[in-house]
């Protein structure tokens, strides 16, 4: 690695630092070399590693599924086509189960969210030192491989969903209907300000909880992987025990990453369903 970490705390912090590109306080543009430098760059700094991995995985997903769609046959399907069909059917079933209206956007959106978040979470299963070590040989000091442990990415996802929720709320219910839903529930009309505060908090809590849930789970999982990786420096016996722990946690983590991707997708569908319902 470029700057060899020494204590365990430095090792952990090194692994939790993004590769940030932005403008230094003295005016020139470049990569940050520590968390503090990255914080000083302010709003317009960009986490290059998160963007690289999230966009790369998105392209991989589109390329793979497009390939399956282009080469789909009615005859004997290959393994990849089988898998893609199974995934699409599974998503279709979930959307039909939770979304009551008719909307051509929700199905593809759910598929994209599920596969994309799953792929980003899947990067968590790669041993934590492999890719940063390769990047270190190439001269890059920091590299955070799991995009969903970056709150910028998860908030980007949830805010996009929130924009869609607002769009469909206004489109399906109209301005008056949407305002009525916010102001005239759950108490009678003369308590409208109280209702507005209550329902407003509920509305804002949706994107915040959606993104923080994904971020927190992935961050905690990554943290535990890093702590297990620390054990490899502690001699043969501790290292072997660490290997066992890593295997166990990785197997448990397969459940978590799938579940979190699925929950994000299901809640997106449910929120959009609530936005599209016209009665009340």
């Amino acid at each position: 690695m470029a700057a060899a970490p020494e204590t365990s705390a430095e090792y952990i912090k090194h692994h939790l630092t993004n590769l940030t590109f932005g403008q230094h306080p003295d005016g020139h543009w470049g990569f940050a070399h520590s968390m503090q430098e990255a914080a000083e760059m302010g709003f317009w700094a960009i986490n290059v590693d998160s963007m690289l991995f999230s966009v790369g995985l998105g392209v991989l997903f589109l390329w793979g599924f497009r390939k399956a769609a282009r080469t789909a046959t009615a005859g004997v399907p290959g393994g990849w086509q089988n898998f893609v069909e199974w995934v699409v059917e599974f998503i279709d079933e979930s959307v039909r189960g939770s979304f009551s209206g008719k909307n051509p956007l929700v199905g593809p959106l759910a598929l994209t969210i599920f596969i994309w978040i799953f792929l980003m979470n899947l990067m968590d299963l790669i041993p934590v030192d492999w890719l940063p070590a390769v990047a270190g040989v190439a001269g890059v000091g920091h590299l955070k491989v799991v995009s969903s442990t970056d709150p910028n990415i998860t908030f980007g996802l949830s805010l996009s969903v929130f924009v869609l929720v607002l769009y469909y709320s206004f489109k399906m219910k109209g301005v008056g209907g949407f305002f009525g839903e916010l102001a005239f529930q759950p108490f009678p009309k003369f308590l409208a300000p109280v209702n507005l505060v209550l329902e407003g908090v509920t509305l804002i809590a949706k994107p915040v909880s959606l993104s923080l849930r994904l971020f927190g789970n992935m961050y905690a999982g990554e943290m535990i992987f890093i702590l297990i990786a620390l054990m490899y420096g502690g001699g043969l016996a501790l290292g072997a025990f660490g290997g066992l722990l890593q295997l166990g946690w990785a197997i448990f983590h397969i459940l978590i990453i799938t579940l979190q991707a699925f929950i994000f997708m299901t809640l997106t569908i449910v929120y959009l369903d609530m936005a599209c319902q016209e009665h009340h």
Partner: protein, 78 residues
């Protein structure tokens, strides 16, 4: 002294998080088994819902565990 308080804070975060998750998942699993025993034909549907709610219940304690680990190993160690 400060470090001791940080360790206690980490222990509290993990312990209280585990408490909440245990109560929540215990109730959830019990109700799931009750429902499954009453109407076995609904098990596939119930299992899906069970896992969704388990993910929701499990999320916050898991975040607490991650933060506690961070406090105990990165903040105290640094």
């Amino acid at each position: 002294m400060e470090n001791a308080l940080l360790y206690i804070a980490g222990g509290l975060m993990m312990g209280l998080g585990a408490l909440g998750a245990a109560v929540g998942i215990g109730i959830l699993g019990g109700r799931f088994l009750e429902g499954a025993a009453r109407q076995p034909e609904l098990i596939p549907m119930l299992r899906t819902q069970f896992f969704i709610v388990m993910g929701l219940v499990d999320a916050v304690p898991m975040i607490a565990v991650g933060l506690a680990m961070y406090v105990m190993f990165a903040v105290v160690g640094g």
